[in-house]
Symmetry: C2
Subunit: 338 residues, 2 copies
DNA sequence: GCTCTCTGCGCAAACGTTTGTTCGGTTACA
DNA sequence: TGTAACCGAACAAACGTTTGCGCAGAGAGC
């Protein structure tokens, strides 16, 4: 494939040594290059390099400098719109800074998490970004002890590891406040998987807001299931199988909300007539649904970008401060007051 | 980060040279290793390597062997469920074969396509997989001339380049036949972007099937727009603004179908009562929608896997044969006969 | 006229592998 | 017993960079 020029060929062509070419090409400005060569030589070398479309061989550079400029990213599943978007943010920021990324799915499976981590490490990534942290998991402790650099995105954990998340508790509060404000009193929550801080925090936020308004949510109104359409439908079906029915459902994920919408329709219940419905993330779909979905907009792409930046700070030895970005409520038809 | 052992430390520990360690570790079987060392030495070396968790440094290996075991993947957008799934297939197959992949979004923007290609090439990928080919584009011609190895997935192009696609024409035919069989006669098609073979072939397939049944689709019933919910809604709105209304809409993408559903509801039209609706890809959402969506299941993950395998064939110098995998129709409520 | 300090570059080593060649010592064979 | 063959391993070079050090020549300062 595409034959790549080396320092040697440029050196030969310009009558200098590879060292000199390297120094010139690695100096950003003309001025700093003058430290190493005459203006005339710089000209010649730069021109020759450009004409060959010279690009340093990353493997050689990596070998010599012991830096790979590689970052590893592990997510539950790239198919998931939310994590795909976060990853887009990561990759975008990484590219801007001259880093490249490897992504892998872990499916939230501990064995795959460990395997993926080892694979990435063996590829000599300089740091890792986990989008699949389990709130009470032991896995990260072991990683930290091995002195591996990493940050968390999307989810946080009980132990104190640097993370960039949406302020999910606040997001949940916004939803809770909105629901009481629109006259709902019996709220059920589809809380997602038990190990994901996202769902847990959103749930707690809603519970807190409702409590402050004098509404208490009993435990049986909080259902855990997968963060997708199927999980949402399944949870909603369990919920709707018993009386009394709630007058609102907060699905802590847009796709779960869509699944719930299907379950509601199956039982002849209308949204928002019989039951209000709220999602989370303001997915591209939310606004376009037959019944546009009230949801919480979270800065997914920004979470990714900041996550990468945080990791890079960490690699530079800078103190890494966890970040919690604020969400905003997006009100649509699915929570219209009756 | 994690200190990695080198051949040298294993050599020192076992009293041999790095060469010998390398040969032993690179022989798969005990038998083939005996070519290079005594059974006793092999034992010692293997044990030492294992105890250090030795993993060859990919940069050093790459430098020496001139092989990176890296594959570049360019997709329109990873946020898109379909391409994310295809990429999952690619990465899965790549990992199984000891390759790693870099993915990037091109947003179907020619400048970004070119830029991403150069970036990946400068990272020394051994081959490329394009998921964003433009049917009549000139870009790939230039790439091929530079002797870069690549394959296409999801979309094919007019020029003959190796590709792995869904048999989209067949998919379209299945839809066309189903629609006439369920009594629809005036079918509109949301055909996606004009440069994507997926939408074009699906459209043509449907047109052909309907024609065979004596139904002809006039050009104004074929609308082009983005392959997502917003595009689907926009196209549907243009469609519904004029009389007479069609009695069926074939959205060549599930998300576009969801957008169309929204537009239909806005006008008080029911699915399938007033208008039948068909999607494409059998996205995870299709079955869980309030009105479950009739759609065409395409083997997305398999397309990714086969794409990678095809590329690897190409790299080995094997004759590369384009592949067209068959889809299947999945009938749901959205096309119930009136 | 002597040393001193720049300027502009070359030299060489090193990063961790892989792989062709060499080499000393046994063993087999005639 | 001399020679050929083989076994088990070492040696060395190379992949493309980066970077500490050295060095020749020119100009400056005394």
């Amino acid at each position: 494939m595409g034959s790549h020029a080396t320092l040697q060929v440029i050196a030969d062509e310009t009558g200098v040594t590879p060292s000199t070419v390297s120094r010139i090409l690695n100096s950003s400005s003309e001025a700093s290059a003058r430290r190493w060569a005459s203006a005339e030589t710089i000209q010649r070398v730069r021109k020759s390099a450009a004409s060959h479309g010279y690009r340093p061989n990353p493997q050689a550079v990596g070998l010599r400098t012991r830096r790979s400029n590689l970052i590893g990213v592990i997510v539950p599943r790239l198919q998931d719109y939310v994590l795909a978007t976060i990853y887009e943010g990561i990759d975008e920021a990484a590219t801007e800074r001259g880093f490249a990324t490897f992504v892998t799915n872990s499916l939230d499976n501990p064995r795959k998490q460990a395997l993926a981590t080892e694979t990435l490490l063996s590829r000599r990534v300089e740091g890792l970004i986990f989008g699949d942290a389990h709130f009470d998991g032991e896995f990260l402790k072991g990683i930290a002890e091995r002195d591996v650099k990493f940050v968390l995105v999307s989810r946080r954990v009980r132990d104190d590891h640097p993370s960039v998340t949406c302020d999910d508790h606040m997001g949940g509060r916004l939803v809770g406040e909105h629901l009481v404000a629109t006259g709902r009193r019996d709220v059920a929550i589809l809380a997602g998987e038990t190990y994901a801080s996202t769902g847990l925090d959103r749930t707690q936020g809603a519970v807190d807001a409702l409590h402050a308004a004098g509404v208490d949510i009993p435990p049986h109104r909080i259902l855990h299931d997968a963060f997708d359409a199927q999980g949402g439908r399944a949870a909603a079906e369990r919920l709707l199988a018993r009386r009394p029915l709630p007058d609102a459902i907060f699905a802590t994920n847009d796709f779960a909300a869509i699944g719930a919408m299907g379950a509601l329709r199956d039982r002849g219940l209308s949204v928002p007539g019989d039951i209000a419905l709220v999602g989370y993330n303001d997915t591209a779909l939310a606004a376009e649904l037959p019944t546009p979905l009230t949801t919480v907009r979270s800065p997914m792409r920004e979470i990714g970008r900041r996550g990468l930046e945080l990791l890079l700070d960490l690699l530079r030895g800078v103190e890494a401060q966890s970040l919690r970005l604020p969400p905003t409520l997006v009100v649509r038809e699915s929570t219209n007051p009756v």
